[in-house]
């Protein structure tokens, strides 16, 4: 990607915001296609991959679940399940077989998808580039198709569940007679439609907006460090060596600090400072990977804040999903 001569910030950002797309009519890889019959392969790939990650984390436990003493991983899964179950019980008061499992899936799937944002912005696209794939967006929730499809599915389930629980007549009455009574039926209906449409839109766009903004900030931070860029061929090497150096320094310091007497713990912050200082010196030498260093520094700072958004958005998506289903089932 960066190999083709000097690269501008604009091109860099645009590159990171371009999907790897498959035209379903011609079965060819395309770029920036505006038609409907186009599949965003990257979003779909990571979304399915992370869905499978959820399945492979939870399914083994479910298959071997015992009512005896739970082992470590089962403990973790049960804590998660219990957490989601508690959330669902708080918000949803009907009996339903699918709401709680769906909440579990939604929370962890969205969480895993959001966590993709914490990978260095260039890591996977560069690896894909090495395999001949031009564009790759690794963060499915930054694709409105993904978030809106989930929220629309939730909306469809709400619709179905509402009819299932309350029947056609109650729903029709609710849609036509509220809030202004029977003489304002058309207005009531329009309001109801707006209300119902706003739910999936806000649900999907909230997640999309948060994650897209987070991703863009990561990309901008990376673009900001572009002028320190080393030649693309050696950037990964210097980046990796810096990473290993930092990891080894931390490990050494950590072992000294926790392996022996208490006074040695002072070495931990000292070692950290040394690593940062060494990195800064490296950072001033543009040819030896300044971009990698500053990007790690900036991205770590933003990433720590972004953790909050990642977990919070996954949680909000789950809670609202349950809340909408609960509203669909309840009589107003």
């Amino acid at each position: 990607m960066a190999a083709e001569g000097p690269i501008t910030s604009g091109a860099y950002i645009l590159h990171h915001l371009t999907y790897l797309q498959l035209d379903l009519k011609t079965w060819k890889i395309v770029e920036n296609s505006q038609g409907f019959w186009v599949l965003n392969i990257d979003s779909m790939f990571f979304s399915v991959l992370l869905g499978l990650l959820f399945v492979f984390l939870f399914w083994p436990v479910a298959r071997r679940a015992s009512n005896g003493v739970p082992r470590s991983w089962q403990n973790f899964v049960e804590v998660c399940t219990e957490f989601v179950d508690g959330q669902v019980k708080d918000a949803f008061h009907q009996k339903s077989k699918f709401v709680a499992p769906m909440a579990l899936l939604v929370f962890f799937w969205v969480l895993f998808m959001n966590l993709m944002d914490l990978l260095p912005v260039d890591a996977l696209p560069t690896a894909a580039g090495a395999m001949g794939i031009g564009h790759l967006r690794v963060l499915p929730p930054a694709d409105p198709n993904i978030t809106l499809s989930m929220s629309l599915t939730v909306f469809a389930l709400c619709f179905w569940y509402s009819f299932y629980c309350k029947g056609f007549m109650t729903n029709a009455k609710e849609a036509l007679l509220h809030p202004f009574g029977k003489w304002m039926m058309p207005i009531n209906f329009v309001l109801k439609v707006v209300e119902e449409l706003s739910k999936p839109l806000s649900l999907g766009l909230r997640l999309f907006g948060n994650m897209y903004a987070g991703e863009v900030i990561f990309i901008l931070l990376a673009a900001l460090t572009l002028r320190y860029s080393a030649p693309a061929q050696i950037a990964p090497v210097t980046g990796a060596s810096f990473f290993i150096f930092a990891a080894l320094a931390m490990l050494t310091v950590g072992l000294f600090a926790y392996g022996k007497g208490k006074w040695l713990r002072a070495w931990l912050p000292l070692g950290l400072m040394l690593v940062i200082a060494a990195g800064s010196i490296v950072g001033f030498l543009p040819a030896i990977g300044g971009q990698t260093y500053y990007q790690i520094l900036f991205a770590t700072g933003w990433g720590i804040f972004h953790w909050l958004i990642i977990a919070l958005q996954a949680y909000i998506f789950m809670v609202l999903t349950v809340a909408y289903l609960s509203m669909a089932a309840e009589h107003h």
């Binding site: 009512n67 699918f98 769906m102 499809s149």
Partner: protein, 156 residues
């Protein structure tokens, strides 16, 4: 931002995953957790029951011990009384026996003394005759002096 077929594909994936979670992941985990909760509740209840039963058993055992102790006290009391009676009786018997034996012995002694006296009396007559013979230097006819001798013997 363009909406395309990804929307539909992701919907399908979502529905499949929801179905899978609903079918294969959620129920076994919840079932295991509920069963464990029940087992723990049962265990706690059983422990409570066992504790109560133990307390009951202790009370019962204490009662038994107390009762046994009272019974033992009664028995010991009775035994003591019996022992006293036996000792008293033995003492009385012994005294009686001793008195009897004493009386017997006295009677024996009396008898023997009597006999000895009778014997001595007989011998005294002979001795007196012999003594008199010696003194007189001649034979004394016992028959002649029988009256005298008898008088003598009577006098001893």
């Amino acid at each position: 931002m363009s909406i395309n077929a990804t929307l539909i594909a992701q919907m399908l994936v979502f529905l499949i995953l929801v179905w899978f979670t609903m079918k294969f992941i959620w129920p076994p985990i919840m079932k295991a957790m509920e069963e464990r909760a029940k087992r723990i509740a049962d265990g706690l209840e059983a422990a409570d029951r066992a504790r109560k039963e133990l307390a009951d058993a202790n009370t019962r055992a204490d009662d038994e011990v107390r009762k046994a102790r009272a019974e033992a006290a009664v028995i010991i009391e009775r035994a003591n009384q019996q022992a006293g009676q036996i000792v008293d009786k033995a003492r009385a018997d012994a005294l009686l026996e001793a008195a009897k034996q004493k009386a017997q012995a006295q009677a024996d002694i009396e008898n023997m003394a009597h006999r000895a006296r009778a014997e001595l009396r007989g011998q005294v007559a002979t001795l007196a005759v012999q003594g008199a013979e010696k003194i007189l230097g001649r034979e004394v006819n016992a028959a002649t002096h029988k009256a005298l001798l008898d008088q003598l013997v009577e006098g001893i």
